[in-house]
């Protein structure tokens, strides 16, 4: 499929259109991401969003540290395309795709939870996999695999006697 017209339509927004191992990949800046996705959906027929995920390119040389990767599918022609939107570390915000495809809601929440990429305009952006009040974004490359001690931070079970269900002493 020919995506070169997209480069002309969004000058400066579409960084590159390439084939990676036989798969079409479009690299965009985060400001152009939403418009490029909308163009792909409305004009090129990519009606299904297969997946949204984040990647932390800390150890590789890339324009920015984070990227939001969108995989799109055209159910009529079986064409697939990958859109890679680079998101800077200093200001990790990008417009949400959940207005185009409602199925993007939870994967974007997951990318926010695990990477810290904020999807502006999302109807309910909060942590989905980690507990409420958890600090840190686990899938970042500088976050340790074994965590920072949260998994040992629970009270040891103590049986209590002579208290009622609200914790008040029964006076027995």
């Amino acid at each position: 499929m020919d995506y070169a017209p997209l480069k002309d339509r969004f000058p400066g927004g579409v960084l590159s259109v390439a084939q990676e191992n036989g798969q079409d990949a479009i690299e965009v800046t985060r400001d152009a991401a939403h418009d490029v996705l909308k163009a792909l959906k409305d004009e090129h027929g990519f009606d299904m969003l297969v997946d949204v995920c984040g990647v932390d390119y800390l150890k590789l040389e890339r324009p920015e540290r984070f990227a939001a990767i969108y995989h799109l599918l055209n159910t009529q022609t079986n064409a697939r395309v990958r859109v890679r939107a680079f998101v800077p570390e200093s200001d990790p915000r990008i417009a949400t795709a959940s207005d185009l495809w409602p199925g993007a809601g939870w994967p974007e929440r997951e990318a926010f939870d695990l990477y810290g990429i904020v999807f502006t305009g999302h109807r309910d952006l909060r942590r989905i996999l980690m507990p409420e009040g958890y600090e840190g974004h686990p899938l970042r490359k500088d976050y340790p695999l074994k965590g920072r001690g949260e998994r040992e931070d629970f009270p040891k079970y103590e049986p209590v006697e002579n208290v009622d269900w609200q914790g008040q002493p029964t006076g027995d």
Binding site: E20, N21, Q23, A25, D47, M48, L49, V50, D51, C53, V55, D56, K59, L60, I69, H71, T75, N78, R80, R82, W101, P102, G103, A104, G105, W106, P107, E110, L114, R127, I128, L129, M130, P131, P138, L139, K141, Y143, L145
Partner: protein, 401 residues
């Protein structure tokens, strides 16, 4: 309390279902806002089984990650193994020998049958038909016997490696699988006879939780959920892998899209899987190795390791840890998908040339199913929550990873 105009105002009630609940099929937490028996809103909370598979993948080698994929969709672990191995093989451009491909197809279809029969059984159990669940488990036990005989484990098989299968199947494989698949066909018919026209089952499932095909596409649903709504997509036909183009099977679709339609869809898919297995067995297993013989993925045989310097170096480069050793695709990114029993199971791999992935992303079909769940429940009652949830086949291991 009546208001000035004489209307009665009511308040909705918040009911927590789960995460420890018999009908939530694993660790799901549903916050239901109820107006009497009507569900006004439903907010699922997930993450109660989050294990950090994707983070763990960055610290393991490509072959070690196969062990982790078992534990995602634990209803059909072989499908996960096969899906992941195919992703790495596509990235590296490794061709699997024909025997390996045929065996992968047979085992993938057997694990699809195992998953679907359990889902149908649990759908019955959640609505009160406990015997159907026990029958489904007996069927699964028969399949477990085959899996254990071939792979060594009932549930966590870890049978594939990048490049093929870890070992060949025992000699009587064809006869045994033929006998098991014949019995599977009988059990499928039994379950259908038991539930499909049962008036109680029909009352609880027909018209409940219906989704149109446009909604399925918008919400990213794939697999039996999408096909039962009329979306005629199947990765085995649209993006064939592992030799599926050589098999003659139908991509069955239905138009109802409700719980009953999904139940019938899964039964029909089991029949199509049996058809594929029968074709594969009738053609016979092609002779040859089950693992691709290339320096990139396979281990050399012991005679060449001890007898020649090339064999020794080949062995060293595959086994010893270090950059550029073992299975290592070149730097790049690749997305690959297979038709798991739940839908399109995708793996997105980012490689930096090392012996383990830089990033492993699993595209879980259950996540999209549960995300669309509140939409399916619009205007339904409390008892429909259980019926719709069990028809989605949400597997918590895959959902939370």
């Amino acid at each position: 309390m009546p208001t000035a105009t004489g209307e009665l105002t009511t308040k909705t009630m918040l009911l927590n279902m789960g995460p420890q609940h018999p009908a939530t099929h694993g660790t799901l937490h549903l916050k239901l806002e109820l107006d009497g028996e009507r569900v006004v809103a439903c907010t699922p909370e997930i993450g109660y089984l989050h294990t950090g598979f994707e983070k763990l993948g960055e610290y393991l080698t490509y072959n070690q990650f196969v062990v982790v994929t078992d534990r995602m969709n634990y209803m059909s672990p072989l499908s996960n193994n096969i899906g992941y191995s195919i992703a790495v093989e596509e990235m590296m451009g490794v061709e699997i020998p024909p025997r390996g491909q045929v065996l992968r197809v047979i085992l993938a279809e057997l694990s699809r049958i195992a998953d679907h029969v359990l889902c149908c059984g649990l759908q019955g159990m959640d609505l009160g038909a406990f015997s159907v669940m026990l029958w489904a488990f007996v069927e699964r036990e028969r399949l477990y016997d085959v899996f254990e005989w071939v792979t060594g484990a009932r549930l966590t098989t870890s049978y594939t490696r990048v490049g093929g299968l870890v070992r060949d199947v025992p000699p009587e494989f064809v006869e045994r699988v033929r006998a098991v698949s014949k019995k599977c066909g009988e059990v499928t018919d039994e379950i259908e006879r038991m539930l499909a026209d049962n008036p109680i089952f029909r009352q609880r499932t027909v018209g409940i939780g219906a989704f149109t095909s446009e909604q399925c596409i918008a919400w990213g649903l794939t697999g039996p959920l999408a096909r039962s709504s009329g979306v005629g997509r199947d990765v085995r036909r649209d993006r064939p892998y592992s030799g599926y183009e050589a098999y003659d099977f139908d991509v069955v679709t239905r138009s109802e899209g409700d719980c009953w339609g999904r139940f019938m869809q899964r039964l029909e898919e089991m029949r199509q899987s049996l058809r594929i297995i029968r074709q594969a067995l009738d053609r016979g297993l092609p002779p040859g190795p089950v693992m691709a013989i290339t320096k990139k993925v396979s281990l050399p045989d012991k005679e060449s390791v001890w007898g020649s310097i090339e064999g020794l170096i080949h062995h060293f480069k595959q086994i010893m840890p270090g950059r550029g050793h073992g299975v290592h695709p070149g730097p790049g990114e690749h997305y690959s998908c297979t038709e798991a029993p739940n839908g399109e199971l995708g793996f997105y791999l980012v490689s930096d040339g090392g012996s383990g992935p830089y990033r492993v992303r699993v595209r879980p079909p259950s996540l999209y199913a549960l995300q669309a769940f509140p939409e399916m429940l619009k205007g339904r009652m409390l008892s429909d929550v259980v019926a719709v949830l069990s028809s989605l086949n949400v597997v918590a291991g895959e959902l939370d990873r």
